[in-house]
Subunit: 133 residues, 4 copies
């Protein structure tokens, strides 16, 4: 499947740990960078969409296939899908030299931050993310 | 189910983000702290067990139920189970004021770090973690 | 000089980097932990003191003398001093096995967060931190 | 003074804290990114130069002038200077919308990592960093 977006960056020294590889939670930094850059490219802010609507995380998951090391260039590809008008799912695939090294997903729910209750995402936000057929 | 171990600590300012709550990847810090303190209490080092055997992460998962904020005292309870002689699973339950706010799990595989191939965990390491009936 | 407070914790795997030692910015985590625990002990919140008064950082500095490694128990001692009614200085000394491995300081200024301008710290906050002679 | 290099990136959600601004230690991430990208551009690895020579941090300092927020584009400019054949100094200036918001410096010393003693930097590494007149 073709990705909706991909973002490349190098592994930094602070991403690594004493095992000489990227620390497992460091991959969530790559996921986050790809989401934020993708949504900026779509013309919106993330995860704070506007003064009222915020996206907060419901679930995060990553499967680690191969290790990445200092200086490796990683390409994080993502696909976005609408679970409901309130819930957004991102699927990730991180490659290093064209080989998948990590796969994962993040589920976000939209909230009205003034009452901290779930709410529908703004329609123009949804429209910008989801391709029409 | 009774937890094998629990570790309490306060949410620090660097755990939070501009939404005023703990950033989703911050919960992996609490998971990691609980694992490392648990295994220290069992008399071993983690995730670098010894000069040859290292535990590396295969999968991480967290489900977020309620938000935690600056200064909240969180209690991370864990249960450990043996998937095989090479693979260890930790299940986590984080509570704030006796209410579960996050649940998750981490799968580790043991490697021989000299050849970077999977290997059995040291027997005394296994014995220290798993309760006999 | 006797420290006003000290806080001990172990180096976690995420504090280390591919050089096998604590990453230089990781020591600011130990500084932050010691400040937050100290001020909690004094009966206040930090760095968000209350709904109006926040402490924000003006300057940070650390000198690295010896490296710390995974599992090392570090003791962070701090001394607090009043630069003015608006500015607080913390001096830090981190020891590992009774040897100083890192020294540093952090300067905070108090702001009224509603107007984001410098302001005097609450008097009871000052009184709690500074020893009377 | 003209900068030797500059690197731009957006403030990510994990760089911010509950005060809604970049956490003070987050600026060291921007310093580190600029250093690593600069030295990659010069054809070398950093801070692990090669199998024997590593750069480790002696001192870090940052002065905070104005706050940065989620989504702000920051430009980190750096100048490098040779304190000795063993010690390298980086000076940083971070701007947001052409205004300086943070200034700082980092001192690194070269070590022979096999004996963990100070050592001269490789000559081709020095030559690549320092402009000839």
């Amino acid at each position: 499947m073709e990705a909706d977006y991909s973002f490349s960056e190098d592994v930094k020294i602070y991403d690594t740990d004493a095992q000489g590889i990227v620390h497992y939670s460091g991959y969530y930094r790559f996921f986050t960078d790809a989401m934020q850059e993708f949504i900026k490219w779509k013309g919106h802010s993330f995860p704070i969409i506007d003064q009222n609507k915020w996206m907060v995380v419901l679930e995060s998951n990553a499967k680690y296939i191969k290790s990445a090391r200092l200086g490796d260039t990683l390409k994080t590809s993502l696909n976005v899908s609408l679970v409901s008008k309130k819930i957004l799912r991102f699927d990730f695939d991180i490659t290093c030299k064209d080989e998948t090294i990590c796969k994962g997903y993040i589920l976000h729910i939209c909230i009205d931050k003034n009452v901290w209750k779930s709410a529908e995402m703004p329609q123009d936000f949804i429209d910008s993310l989801i391709k029409k057929v």
